[in-house]
């Protein structure tokens, strides 16, 4: 006889306009389990969580918590009284305030006590941190903490809120939702976060773990529910499931593998050469990229590889170095983005929202920005030609929907990234710089994006891709450079370009005496 579920959702349905975001979804979370929630972007994960958080009113369905039916819709904030709490990807911390102020934010907001004894609160906070084995200074400014400490603080805060709510409901069975808490964490810090999750579960609470990372899901969850197109594609016991089976559930078809298939002889003469690059965390990089080649650059966190695209684009000032591009030589310390673009370089930054595009403007606006001059004839910009050309590009790059007048933010993450690729590839750059090109993108779009990059390479663009996603590097790159402490320590080529080999080499690059 299995234990009765802590949370039981049945037939949950929610439509926006004509689109069914959730279609008859059922989900059961058992006491004391880590339950994975998987699915591509737009599969309904966020809608499900927003219904539970009281942001959306469902159209149909029932929710039971500890066997008790809950009146729907939930009021915003009602989840606390039910002993649930959420940690969203952005963590919801205020960087300019202290750890203690952030930890007690909820109480500060709602307390009816006329004054606050900071001394007592501090002692309580230290006790709490000790209980979870965290080494956090309550007086430290949250903005000064490393990313992993911020994530742990947010989780501990949510756990405390969950406990308190559960206690008020006379139970110790809390439920914690972690919505991609690891997305911005370096890989070696994820283990610390998992230890905390296990501790939470050991105390009779349950955790719902939302993630894109199959490895993490395999490592931490007991059971997994997969959503696809707003419907439940299946629930499985993690131990009895393979990664391939999960992938199959997520995308509903088998991944066609690119790995190894694309490697073919490339031109011998390098099209791009970097000499003596110093700047950011990099302390002397020399490299060459041939035409028709994708060069991967990777390493452990703090190795400095992610500075490379920005330094080569003039987005960040280099201390020294030069870039040879065909017959042109660019001095990197005096390079600016506009000069880089004029020389035939494009950059697709990792932070799409901040650096890549303006969500509130149309797809056409975003697409045509680097090539506006083409459309300025007889003293006017031809909007109709801009829209026509954009539509053609959207079709060519398989953006859905291919409507160039749509607001950019209305597109899903994968389609936004395809637009970014179209924005730069229409300029036929000699060198395209990528930083985490498939971050926050669903599995299907990720495949398509890598295909588009390969097409550009076939057309003669040299590509440098900085990424910590080893699987992606293995699929996309012809050669991979491993960077450690600001220098290239290893070059992998040919049959060595596999996920396992790159992972192994990155791990070994951190050892003292490597290089």
């Amino acid at each position: 006889m299995p234990p009765p579920p802590l949370l039981s959702i049945r037939g949950l349905t929610k439509s926006f306009g004509g689109t069914r975001a959730l279609d008859n979804v059922s989900l059961e979370v058992l006491p004391g389990e880590v339950h994975g929630l998987l699915g591509e972007n737009g599969s309904g994960k966020s809608t499900l969580i927003k219904v539970l958080a009281g942001f959306h009113a469902p159209d149909a369905g029932t929710i039971e918590v500890r066997g008790q039916a809950v009146d729907l819709p939930l009021a915003p904030g009602q989840f606390r009284k039910l002993g649930m709490d959420f940690v969203h990807q952005d963590l919801g911390l205020i960087p300019s305030l202290t750890v203690l102020e952030n930890l007690r934010a909820g109480e500060i907001a709602s307390s009816r006590r006329p004054y606050f004894s900071w001394k007592r609160e501090r002692a309580r906070a230290e006790e709490t941190f000790a209980r979870y084995g965290l080494d956090l200074d309550p007086t430290a400014r949250v903005g000064d903490l490393p990313a992993v400490s911020r994530a742990m603080l947010a989780i501990v805060r949510a756990v405390e809120g969950m406990r308190q709510g559960a206690a008020e409901a006379h139970t110790d069975q809390g439920l914690l939702f972690l919505d991609e808490p690891t997305a911005f964490l370096p890989r070696d810090h994820v283990d610390r976060l998992f230890a905390l999750v296990r501790q939470v579960v050991a105390s009779n609470a349950s955790v719902v773990f939302v993630s894109h990372d199959l490895g993490e899901v395999m490592a931490i969850t007991d059971r997994v529910t997969v959503l696809r197109n707003g419907q439940r594609a299946g629930s499985v016991v993690t131990r009895q499931t393979s990664r391939d089976q999960l992938v199959h559930l997520i995308i509903g078809q088998h991944l066609q593998t690119l790995e190894g298939a694309h490697r073919r002889p490339t031109e011998a003469r390098p099209a791009v050469r970097v000499r003596g690059l110093r700047g950011g965390l990099l302390r002397g990089i020399d490299l060459a990229v041939r035409r028709n080649e994708v060069l991967g650059v990777t390493g452990l966190l703090g190795a400095g590889f992610e500075d490379l695209p920005y330094l080569l684009f003039g987005a960040r000032k280099a201390a020294a170095g030069m870039l040879e591009l065909g017959d042109d030589t660019l001095e990197l310390p005096s390079l600016t983005p506009s000069r880089a673009i004029a020389a035939g370089i494009g950059l697709i930054p990792a932070d799409r929202q901040r650096d890549g595009s303006v969500g509130s403007l149309s797809v056409t606006d975003n697409l045509t920005l680097p090539v506006l001059r083409r459309y300025f004839q007889r003293l006017t910009l031809s909007w109709s030609r801009m829209v026509d050309d954009s539509r053609r590009l959207l079709h060519a790059f398989d953006v859905r929907p291919p409507d160039p007048t749509l607001v950019y933010a209305a597109l899903s993450g994968g389609n936004q990234q395809k637009v970014m690729l179209a924005k730069w590839l229409q300029t036929r750059p000699r060198l395209l710089l990528l930083h985490e090109p498939t971050q926050g993108v669903d599995v299907g779009a990720r495949q398509r994006i890598m295909g588009l990059v390969r097409e550009a390479v076939a057309a003669g663009t040299a590509v440098i891709c900085a990424s910590a996603d080893y699987e992606q590097l293995a699929l996309l790159c012809d050669r991979v450079l491993i960077v450690a402490r600001g220098r290239v320590v290893r070059e992998l080529g040919g049959d060595e370009v596999t996920t396992e080999r790159i992972t192994e080499q990155c791990l070994r690059s951190g050892e003292p005496g490597a290089a």
């Binding site: 306009g17 004509g18 689109t19 975001a21 699915g39 591509e40 972007n41 737009g42 599969s43 696809r228 197109n229 995308i251 509903g252 078809q253 066609q256 684009f313 987005a315 600016t336 983005p337 506009s338 880089a340 673009i341 004029a342 950059l347 930054p349 901040r354 650096d355 890549g356 595009s357 303006v358 969500g359 509130s360 403007l361 606006d365 045509t368 920005l369 680097p370 506006l372 001059r373 459309y375 300025f376 003293l379 006017t380 910009l381 398989d398 859905r400 929907p401 409507d403 607001v407 933010a409 209305a410 899903s412 994968g414 389609n415 669903d442 299907g444 779009a445 495949q447 398509r448 295909g451």
Partner: protein, 340 residues
Amino acid sequence: MEEIGSPEPTPEWRARLQVWRLSALLGQYGLLAAWAVVVVFFTVFPATSQTFPTMTNFATIFGSQAVIVILTLALLVPLTAGDYDLSVASVLTLAAMIVAVLNAQHHWPIGVAILAALAAGALVGLINGAFILVFRIDSIIVTLGSGTFVGGVVLLISGSNTISGVSQHLVDWVIVKRLLGIPLEFYYGLLLCLVMWYVFELTPLGRRLLFVGRGRSVARLSGINVSRVRLGALVTSGVVSAVAGVAYAGTTGAADPTSGEQLLLPAFAAAFLGATTIVPGRFNPFGSVVAVYFLVTGITGFQLLGAQSYVQSLFYGGALVVAVALSQIARRRQALDTGT
């Protein structure tokens, strides 16, 4: 390869888009409709039906507000580039005072006096830009300070007195000469509005300005020289504010050291209210002109009903807050529509 989870253009989705476009259309012309309602109301309302719908009244409305129109257009440029310029009204006062002092007191030719006024406007913009860009200070703080400073300069060069006797040529060409019964300065404002619409909508510069305002980092990484665009926007607002000041001197034939400062709030109210219409969600010149005349039509109507000058404060202050609230609602609805 089939991608799952992307919004396919289903019939329902198209229908939703149509509803959205319809409501967008309503938003686009809502302020024009509101303006028409105000005009009809005061035309029909018994207490004003004699005095309101007259050619003289309309000529006054269109002519007298050209200064605010020009000032609002000046403000649009840095607002679009993402910077506030709180010094525009002080620059207006400074320009009017320079024209009056140089022309009426020192008997400089009016043309030279006007050029000096415009140069002063450019200088203030340059100084604003230098502080904002070199020291990376918030534009609100810099222009709040520089505006107050310029206000002090005006009091200094005028000895705190109103200076009259500005060249009749200027007065003629601003307010006395008329076309279709409306003073020429109305057409200057309209012309400037057209020029600005052209630059905003039909030139690469206008697009760059927009991107600099919406996403500095995006603009920079797309090859735009962000600092140069922002500096250019601030210098432009200085020069155009000075143009408004010259029009002000031409309208009154004099310059007084303080009353121009009261135009700051109307200009902001019109800029933000204008951003809710014609091209909703963007600061846009035609929307701003509609907003200026919508506000002044209402104010004039109420004044004809016997309301005192308090009605101006009620209208401009209220409009600023309501306009910003409206644009927030629009933004939130847009966010809901896109599911973000």
